[in-house]
């Protein structure tokens, strides 16, 4: 058995205990497998989002945080200084989002024009949505952008008219990490709750 072949199975947690141990030992010496595993692990973890389930009971959150707090008081008796790590965190946060600016368009079928959307994300996490290929909004209607944060509800982020020249909209509010930006068609003046399916979805 060639141990190189076990990368996908390991990423899926589909190895028996002995195989997993043999593969872990191999990983220590194989740069190629480490690189491939990092990629496949990321893809495998994405499968978690494919599961359909009801939300967890609220007590789970409380229980985890209570257990974490109890461990902290046992494990970390000293109060640490705050300033240095805080600075590090700010650097980390900034590094994570500097000048990212990305893509992704999805569209509702119903025309031959291809819709493309791009999100230009500034270091302070404000963002501009640029859309091309979207027809002018119908009479009495407008396009409305929404920011959808992980674990949160869609919140209104601005209105635009569309049209062949393309549209650029500075989104109101900052874009949290992993947030999705969606565009729907709403009654003129916009709405506080999205009432139609998205015509464009953009991710950073």
């Amino acid at each position: 058995m060639d141990v190189h072949d076990l990368t996908a199975a390991y990423a899926l947690d589909a190895l028996g205990p002995d195989e997993a141990q043999a593969y872990q030992e191999h990983l220590g010496q194989c740069e190629q497998c480490r690189a491939q595993l990092a990629e496949l692990n990321e893809t495998a973890a994405t499968l978690a989002f494919g599961a359909v389930a009801p939300p967890p009971p609220p007590r789970l959150r409380e229980s985890i945080l209570a257990a974490a707090a109890a461990e902290r008081s046992n494990v970390v008796p000293l109060r640490r200084r705050n300033w240095a790590p805080r600075a590090l965190i700010l650097v980390a946060a900034a590094a994570a989002c500097v000048a990212v600016g990305f893509t992704v368009a999805a569209l509702r079928p119903g025309g031959t024009t291809r819709v493309t959307a791009a999100l230009v994300l500034a270091a302070d996490r404000t963002a501009t949505l640029q859309v091309t290929g979207l027809a002018h909004a119908p009479t009495q209607k407008t396009y409305e952008a929404w920011i959808i944060p992980p674990g949160g509800k869609a919140r209104p982020a601005g209105l635009f008219a569309g049209g062949t020249a393309g549209s650029s909209l500075k989104l109101s509010g900052k874009l949290p990490p992993h947030a999705v930006v969606a565009v729907t068609i709403e009654p003129a003046g916009g709405d506080s709750v999205a009432t139609t399916a998205p015509v464009v979805v953009a991710r950073t």
Partner: protein
Amino acid sequence: MRVMSRQLTHLSDEALVLMAARSEESALAELYDRYGRAAYGLALRVLRDPALAEDAVQEAFLAVWRSAARFVPEKSKASTWILTLVHRRAVDTVRREQRRRADTLERAPEPTVGGVDEDAWLRLQRERVQEALRALPDTQREALELAYYGGFSQSELAERLGQPLGTIKSRMFAGLSSLRALLGETGTEVSWTSTI
């Protein structure tokens, strides 16, 4: 002084793990708010038992809490790390419990129509993953679903599907590689069936 949770929503996952490594409970809470629901959905899919799923998620998040200082952002995304911990716990449990997992051969249940509590972000992620899975050849999708959601080992899969182990390995590898390409594709056209 603790950072207020309002500010935490703008921090990256990796920054939150860094804070958790410094025993900032609010950072763990924010990570849970981002990934707790996906984690529970995954654990429940694998374990098919709410109590066991809660235990698996709790153990995984406490593992995040304890080992946050050893997290290496260059090696993986924080979300990958967290969900991998959840999956490993769930698979360990399902194998230990020797539960009969015959029902995992069935198709995944259809998504419930969005209720008031439906999380739009999670739904969009789910539709994207399910769309990509549907684009795979049946044999590859089956291997991925049984391994990842069913918790079957490759040897169990080979036996169950009556295929040589080598075939199972290639299906898992090809399936995961194709899925990676599909999910990484930008500008993909998607037909939307839901509202946000």
